[in-house]
């Protein structure tokens, strides 16, 4: 009995070696035939350096340009200045479509998406903020009264001639507060996107890129980089693209009654264009394609390496069909919904196909965990 603990320890060691041993052999004698050796780290590096970081850099410069255009409009409020603001806003909102799905890490901890792009916009709240002459952007109360949709409302009032839009910022009651609200929102959006972009940029003291690429996050559990990315993509496509941009305005959440004013850029009138930009960006992320169109290792290659090349083909065609359906829709999307909602519902169905393939099939093949809770593996 005395030597019992010793015997146990030795037996544990022997059995462990027996289990681990073949691992060492096979590992060094080259990969198997059925499952290619796939470099997950290289895929994550490609996604970080050629997709995510450049997209944040674009988003950052576009919101800086928006802030500059608004500053120019403030010092010289003309119709030409207004046009400059409108075009800078549209550019920035399109650039936003290429980063809004990366809602993990710094974007998640600052609730970036909810801060800068909550819609439909709360116009009554905006007007009461302006009337009161004081406001704090970034609070939960002001979420629907801040960010891109708020700027869109201010510079694209419905059925207002351009000179009257400019006049609202220059003369009349609360004109200076209205201008200040516009300026503050530009600074707020720029600050929020800048801080997330910084966190991803190695030179700017950003630590998140190295965290994303660190060996300790290279697994497939829920906190791993692949786990965060796959969960964020699936969640975004389902809740924010399929439902938020298309389904909810088409009435899927309001007992079938369309809500055209719930479109993303209701005032700007380019919601369809934003949805198309977002779908393209999601497809590029899944396929590891850079913003410039250069192919690189992505989730499709990962699936292929696991023997599921057919699945990545199917995901590709599901994306293409969704984009084709989106391209059938006219802008403003609100007008399309009011005149003929059927093609919008078709788009919803096409996006649903993408959701199923990514949410069920892809995560299952990749072995990605979706919640932190313990499970039985079933």
């Amino acid at each position: 009995m005395l030597c019992l603990p010793g015997r146990i320890v030795i037996t544990v060691l022997v059995v462990s070696l027996a289990l681990v041993g073949p691992g060492c052999d096979s590992g060094s004698s080259g990969g198997g035939d059925d499952v290619d050796d796939f470099d997950r780290a290289a895929m994550l590096e490609n996604l970080a350096d050629n997709v995510i970081v450049p997209a944040y850099a674009d988003a950052r410069s576009s919101v800086e340009a928006l802030e500059a255009a608004i500053a120019a409009f403030e010092s010289d409020p003309t119709i030409a200045g207004l046009a400059g603001v409108r075009s800078a806003l549209k550019t920035a909102r399109i650039a936003w479509q290429r980063v809004n799905m990366f809602q993990f890490g710094p974007a998640e901890s600052t609730a970036l998406k909810a801060s800068v792009n909550t819609y439909p916009v709360d116009t009554a709240r905006i007007e009461s903020n302006i009337d009161s002459g004081s406001w704090t952007l970034g609070t939960i109360d002001n979420r629907a009264a801040a960010g891109f949709p708020a700027i869109g409302y201010l510079v694209h009032p419905i059925e207002t001639a351009d000179e009257d839009v400019v006049a609202a910022f220059t003369s009349g009651t609360h004109a200076s507060d209205r201008m200040a609200y516009l300026v503050d929102n530009a600074a707020f959006v720029r600050g929020a996107i800048e801080s997330t972009a910084d966190a991803w940029t190695p030179g700017a003291g950003g630590a998140f890129r190295s965290e994303f690429l660190s060996a300790s996050n290279s697994g497939t559990d829920v906190g791993s980089s692949l786990g965060m990315l796959a969960n964020a993509l699936v969640l975004h496509i389902e809740r924010f693209l399929r439902d938020g941009k298309i389904g909810i305005p088409a009435g899927v959440r309001s007992a079938g009654v369309p809500r055209p004013t719930s479109t993303e850029a209701f005032y700007g009138g380019y919601s369809t264009e934003l949805a198309i930009a977002n779908t393209f960006a999601l497809k590029r992320t899944v396929f590891g394609t850079s913003t410039a169109g250069t192919p690189g290792p992505g989730l499709d290659d990962h699936l292929e390496a696991l023997g599921a090349g057919e699945l990545s083909d199917e995901i590709k065609s599901a994306f293409d069909e969704a984009i084709a359906a989106l391209e059938e829709l006219d802008d403003p999307l609100s007008t399309q919904i009011a005149s003929d909602v059927d093609p919008v519902l078709t788009t919803f169905t096409e996006l649903q196909d993408v959701v199923v393939l990514l949410k069920a099939d892809m995560t299952s093949i990749l072995g990605v965990t979706i919640t932190f809770q313990d499970n039985d593996g079933d």
């Binding site: 544990v12 059995v15 959440r253 057919e310 099939d361 313990d374 593996g377």
Partner: protein, 470 residues
């Protein structure tokens, strides 16, 4: 007559009370740790306070969360009773309280069902009926007259039997063509760990999936016999440790490996547990510098053996007989149902089917107001937590429950008659996802009462697989 005397011998055979006492301490300890871990992870709120809807068990629909204060109080009670079990302090009320509070919580929501929670409930239930506090406990210290050096052997053997059933049924479940011939789902799960040091590269090989599948099945089916045999138990226990540590590294299964590693110590011979108690007692005395009196006095003045009275014996025999008969029948009930078990999951719970399949799904609900003729869609994420949604998406009974919940929601909003249909895509063990629920059937017209599941589409293996199955 012979049978009766054999029976009596079986019931009266005495053995050292040490293994039972050590088992009680370890169980109380690991439960206290589990409750603390659960609370620290914020799961009390996440699973029992925040959700808008709970998937109740048929027959236990009355089991509902108790509100924030009530839930936290219940977990405090659960944690304290686990400590009570560990210390053997007011043992009987403590273990009853633990069993009731733990089981109540597990019955609140099917989405949180785990085989190891079921296992914990069972062990706690069995502990109610045995004299686990008559040795190495505060109760025996306070009341030396209850201390006992020996107890009937059955009070320990029932735990060995229960552990044996768990392993054996888990092994039987693995004797499935997908597990043995296709190495599914390990062929999907192991390559996900390619980043592990040393073994990572091997895990991407199909050979690894086959090795782990066959070794796992062999382990589950035979381990209890090797643990029982006095020539193999040390090596068998080493295998227990290696097996459970491996699963702990590879899969997010929480406390289960640690519970099993501690629980299987009950198979060790009494001498081992005597030494553990002896050592712990000496360490404790050294720590508090207590004179060596208490246990000595207790042992001298207390009856050496504890045995239940005749009536109690009879009652316990009946109770445990029924209990273990159910333990054998319940896991086998799946064989009385038609349809593919993995697909329909009828008879899947409470059967020790662990780590058996990779299943994932995506469900969209189509609602139609039959008065206005309007149709719309509902995504479950609006009402469910990610875990609830994940669990529901692959389990037909939960999809049906959620459809009924949606109906109630709309009736509450004043819609007189809504129809709810489910578009439910499910992938099983790497197969192409396909519809699991008949999308044409209005689920509000389907009863939850068990019956023919005409609304679940039959499993169809001809749709193909994304990955090579050989």
């Amino acid at each position: 007559m012979v049978a009766r005397s054999t029976m009596r011998k079986l019931l009266n055979h005495q053995t050292s009370s040490a293994p039972l006492a050590v088992f009680r301490v370890l169980f109380g300890f690991i439960m206290a740790v589990s409750v603390l871990r659960f609370a620290l992870k914020g799961w009390i709120a996440e699973m029992y306070i925040n959700p808008a809807f709970y998937f109740t068990f048929s027959g236990f629909d009355w089991v509902a969360p108790l509100g924030p204060a009530g839930m936290y109080a219940l977990f405090v009670l659960m944690g304290l009773s686990a400590v009570g079990i560990m210390l053997g302090w007011h043992y009987r009320p403590a273990v009853m309280l633990f069993f009731l509070s733990f089981t109540y919580v597990e019955l609140i929501d099917k989405a949180n069902y785990l085989n190891h929670y079921y296992f914990v409930s069972i062990i706690a239930f069995l502990l109610i009926w045995v004299p686990a506090n008559r040795r190495f406990s505060l109760d025996a210290l306070r009341r030396p007259e209850i201390a006992a050096e020996t107890v009937p052997a059955w009070t320990i053997d029932i735990f060995k039997l229960q552990l044996g059933l768990v392993y054996f049924f888990a092994g039987l479940a693995k004797l499935h063509p997908e597990w043995l011939l296709e190495a599914m789902p390990l062929k999907l799960w192991l390559p996900a760990h390619a980043d592990l040091p040393i073994v990572g590269a091997f895990l991407t090989e199909p050979a690894a999936a086959y090795l782990f599948s066959w070794a796992g099945a062999l382990y589950d089916l035979t381990i209890v016999f090797f643990l029982l045999w006095n020539r193999t138990w040390p090596a068998a226990y080493a295998a227990v440790v290696v097996f459970h540590l491996t699963t702990a590294v590879l899969f997010p299964i929480g406390m289960f490996p640690w519970i099993m590693v501690l629980a299987t110590l009950v198979f060790f011979p009494p001498a081992f547990h005597e030494r553990v108690i002896d050592l712990a007692t000496r360490l404790w005395r050294g720590a508090v510098k207590a004179p060596r009196t208490v246990t000595g006095a207790a042992a001298a003045s207390s009856p050496a053996a504890w045995r239940p009275g005749r009536r109690a014996s009879l009652a316990l025999t009946g109770l445990l007989g029924v209990f273990f008969t159910l333990q054998i029948l319940v896991p086998l009930r799946a064989f009385t149902y038609s349809g593919d078990l993995f697909w329909s999951e009828r008879g899947y719970r409470f059967s020790w089917r662990v780590m058996l399949m990779e299943k994932a799904g995506s469900t969209l609900f189509h609602v139609r107001d039959s008065q206005s003729g309007r149709e719309w869609q509902v995504a479950a994420w609006e009402y469910l937590t990610p875990n609830q949604e994940k669990m529901m998406s692959t389990q037909p009974d939960m999809i049906l429950q959620f459809a009924h919940f949606l109906e109630e929601q709309y009736v509450g909003q004043g819609l007189a008659d809504v129809e709810v249909r489910a578009e439910s895509y499910v992938t099983l063990n790497g197969r192409r996802s396909r519809l699991m629920i008949d999308p044409d059937i209005d689920l509000t017209q389907v009863s939850r009462i068990p019956g023919h599941r005409y609304w679940v589409l039959p499993f169809d293996d001809t749709t193909g697989s994304w990955i090579s199955r050989q």
